[in-house]
Structures are given as C-alpha cells and as structure tokens.
Amino acid sequence: MTSTPVSPSLTNTIHGDRVSLLRVLGPVHVWALGVGIVLVGEFTGWNFSADKGGALAALIVCWVVGLLYTSVAMIDSEVTSTVAAAGGQYAQAKHIVGPLMAFNVALFLVFAYTMLEVSDAILVGDLMVTVAGTEGLERHGFVVLTIAVLAWLNYRGVLMTLNFNFVITALAYLSILVLFFSVQPWSQGAVLQLGQLVTPENALPYGWIGVIAAFQFGIWYYLGIEGTTQAAEEVRSPSRSLPYGTMAGMITLLIAAAITWYVCASLLPWEYLGFTFFPLYDAARVTGSGALEFIMFWGTVLSAVASANGCINDAARAWFSLGRDRYLPSWFSAVHPKYRTPYRSILFLLPIALAFAFIADLNQAITFSILSGVLQYTFMSINIMMFRRKWPLGSIRRGYTHPFHPLPAIILFLLCCVTFFAIFLGFGTQLIAMVAFYFLISLWFHFYRYKFVRRGDQFTMPWPKPQGY
C-alpha cells in the first residue's frame, strides 16, 4: 500500500460552517462500525432466507452472498482509500459518475441505514416484550428509548460512539462463540441434531428456485459492511484503516455467519427458523440452559443496539454530505462547534426513523433496507469499471489496489441481478414501488434542484482530468 493524498475537503473548512469533522478513528473503530452495523444480521433477518428456500438454501446463500460482499469490500477498499470523504459511496459517485448518481447513492445509503436502524429498534422492542411476557406490554417504549438514546450518543461525538460500539459488538460476537462451543459442535447428536432436522426431503423444499429466492434475505448476513467508508473523513489514516478495518470485518462476519447457520439449523426445524425473529436466542432456549438463554438475550440486544448506533452514524453522514454539496439545503451541513458531529442531520433523521418504527414491521423494514442496499451494490459494480477507465492504474495514487479486476465487479453485478430476481419472487411490487420513487426523485433533482448546485466546486479531489473528458 502507498500513502494516499488527502482530499482537500478533509482539511479545510470551505464547505458550510467553519469547523470540520474530527480525525480521531483507527482501524479498530472502522471494524467496530462495519461489524457493529452488520452483526445483528446473524441474530435476526438471515433466517428469513430459510423461509424462502429452506435450511440448505440459507447455507448456500450464506457463502454465495459472502462472495458478493467480498467483492463489495475489495472494490470499496480501493475506491474509498482513494476518495476519502464523508458520505462514502456518495463521494465516490460524485467524483466518478456524476451528481445525479451521487444524489441517488446518498438516498440509497440513508434509506438502507435508516430502515436498518428501524429494524434494530423493532427487534429490541419485540425481544423485550417477548421475554417479559407481560400482558398489554407494547414494544413502542423500548423502540423510542433505543433510537433516542443512540441519537444522543451520536450527537455527543464520534469517538465515544464508536468506542461504545466496539465494546458492545465484541460482547455480542462473544455470545455467538459461547453458544457455539457450549453445544459441542464437534459432536453431532450430543446437543445438535443437524441430520434429523435437515433431511434430504426438506433441505430444499422449493427446489433450486427457492435457493435463488433466498438470496434476498441472504443479503442480511452482511448488509452494511460497506458502511465503514462513511468514517473516511474521521479516520487518521484512510489508506490504511479503511481497507484493514473493512477486510477484517468481512472475515469476522463470514465466520459468524457460518457458525450461526450451523448452530441454528442443528437446533431448530427449518419452518420455525424461517418464522422466528430471534433465531439465536431461540436456539439457546432449545438447549434448555438458562445461562445460554440469558447470554443470547443480551447478545441479541447488544447486537441490535450496536447496529442502530452505526446506522445513525452512517445515515447522518450521508445526509450531511448532501447538504454540504447543496444537493439539499446547506443547513444540513452544519458541524457541531463543540462535539464536531453533523448534529442537524442526526436530529433531522431521528423522527423519520421513529415514524417508520411505528408503522412498519420487522421483515418489511428489512426488505426496504435490502432493496436500497442492492441498488447501491449494482452502482458499485459499474462504478469501479468507470473508475479504472477514467483514471487508469498509475494515473493517480491509490491507497489500495484490489486484485483480479474486473472479476469482482462482474461477480458483484451478476449476483445483484440474481438478487433482484430473488426480491421479485415474493416482494416484486415493493421493488417496483421503490424504484419508481427513486426515478421520480431523480427527475426532481435533475430538472429542478441541481440548478442550486455549484458545478466545479463539487469535484474536490486533487486528480488530473479524467480520460475521455
């Protein structure tokens, strides 16, 4: 790796208010941000892939979607270590494809993370209500408390937020390992019953079309790992911290996903696995161990809190970036004079998250998030091709150069196409409605809003003119 030239936007204060985000984060915080957002996917969400295709389909997509995300992490590491600016993929799109794409990518990010935050808060609320078992107890109080406290934490500073995330993410991860070793994974039949629960008759109840359909929720194993790039303006060394933190996060998640599938598929019938909101917690219940049940209860809660915390961080930075470039009113680009956080964006998105936590249920919120995520990955596969074409290797200094180009981009694009088809199988109307929204809001931006944007000021990287222009 080589050192990366720092974007001018990182060090000066020409945008918006006269303070900038604070550079205090290292690779550990990048790991905590990425894994913290995603780890909740092992505690809930991935199991709906068993609902769509059976237990074996959930395992197949665990690995194949893992390949999709490995491509995402490789591509993201190269582009972000070179375009190190808050907004992550938004800043990439702005410098490589163009303003309208950047506007859309920022909305993908805000939707994906806000809906993921909503899912997390619903999970906390539902789990509390389920475990309490008290007649008339509603989840809403827990939902509001979770979102409001985390928004306050984000308001107070990024270092404290991500230190907190590191601790609770590590504890949640540890809870999965404790469950794994407690059920004697080396000895099938002692506690685990994989052979009895996943049989030749029920392994793929819908056949291979079920495997394809399962891609939709297979995304949930890893959705959000690309959020590490949102911290680009707050890490001390983007060229080192972002690739290390992202790749280490991806390895961590691949291990967690495999362990989670093995334990859950060996303890729960596939129909229940596809139905429950708390697969790891229910797996612990089935073992009959009160201690494991207690550990997995807290593991689920901590993973959801860590994810919501990271999502607030990322969604706010994407929204902040839109304001900074005047894609939205520049009022959103204010940085708190004391805490150095994008506080107006944090506060603005708070009631939106709360509103959807009240009107959506868990798998609907998850689907909204997945849809925005897959649209974003489709963009990323094309974006890296354009990046290499406009600025070939050697024309600018890259913090990291990913190997095997263009293979990861092609794999990513093909797997995105499969995932769109998977969403069509069961959730097609929702997909069409969301794309119609993005299309209409794009028309609004292109033909109206863009006239308020300064043209040349959007390009802040110290790069030569792109080839072909």
Partner: protein, 126 residues
C-alpha cells in the same frame, strides 16, 4: 467554460424542498404498507386436524416444537404458510424495464452533469 453561478434560493423555498423530499420518502415507504403491497406473497396450505406426522415433522422436530411451546394446531399456520413461486412474466418484464430504464437514465443524466463539472473545474485552470 464560464463559471456557473447558482441562483440564491429563498429560505421558504429551501423549507419547501425539505418538505418535498421527506414527503416523497414517506409516500415511497408508507404507501406500499398502506396499500398492502409490502410483505411476502405467501399463503397457508390448510390441513384439517393436523398432527406432527401430517405436518411432516419427525420425532426430533416435534420434540423441539413442543420445547418451544407449540402443539400441532398452533404450529400449523407456521409450517403450512408457504411461498408459491410462480413467475409472473408480465410483472417480471415490467420490473426489468423499470430497473433498466432507471439505471440508463441515471448514468446518462449523470454523465451530462459530470461533463459540466469537469469542464468548469479543469478548463478554468487552463
């Protein structure tokens, strides 16, 4: 290329823009929920007087269901609630057309805007 100077937007117009975007977000996310278009397309394949055997559950499976607090009657709607995958070609074609049209518009319009950005950024220097 001459440097583009954007018009000054009044505060009320800025507030209107924010309200428009937030309104559009709510319509996009809330309307499918309200119209019942969100959520999985599933249906329950009903079995009369279900038993663990008729529900396709072996002894290990039924033991686990019972540990989780279910009987064949209460587990029936979970086990029999299935997807019925039928490829509806007209809907698939509409979805593909919407997606492709969206991305084609995005890349073409973005490229037009990007050329202006590059022209102003780099031609000013030369």
């Amino acid at each position: 290329m001459a440097r583009y100077t954007p018009p000054v937007q009044s505060k009320s117009a800025q507030i209107f823009d924010i309200v428009f975007v937030v309104g559009a977000i709510f319509v996009a996310l809330w309307l499918p929920l309200k119209l019942g278009l969100a959520g999985a397309a599933k249906a329950i394949d009903k079995i009369d007087s279900p038993t663990w055997e008729t529900l396709g559950q072996n002894a290990t499976m039924s033991g686990i269901w019972e540990k989780l607090g279910y009987t064949p009657e209460t587990a029936h709607d979970i086990i029999q609630n299935r997807f019925h995958y039928v490829i509806d070609w007209p809907t698939l074609i509409v979805m593909a057309a919407v997606l492709i049209g969206y991305f084609v518009f995005l890349f073409r319009a973005s490229d037009k805007e990007f050329r202006d950005v590059i022209a102003e950024k780099f031609d000013e220097k030369s």
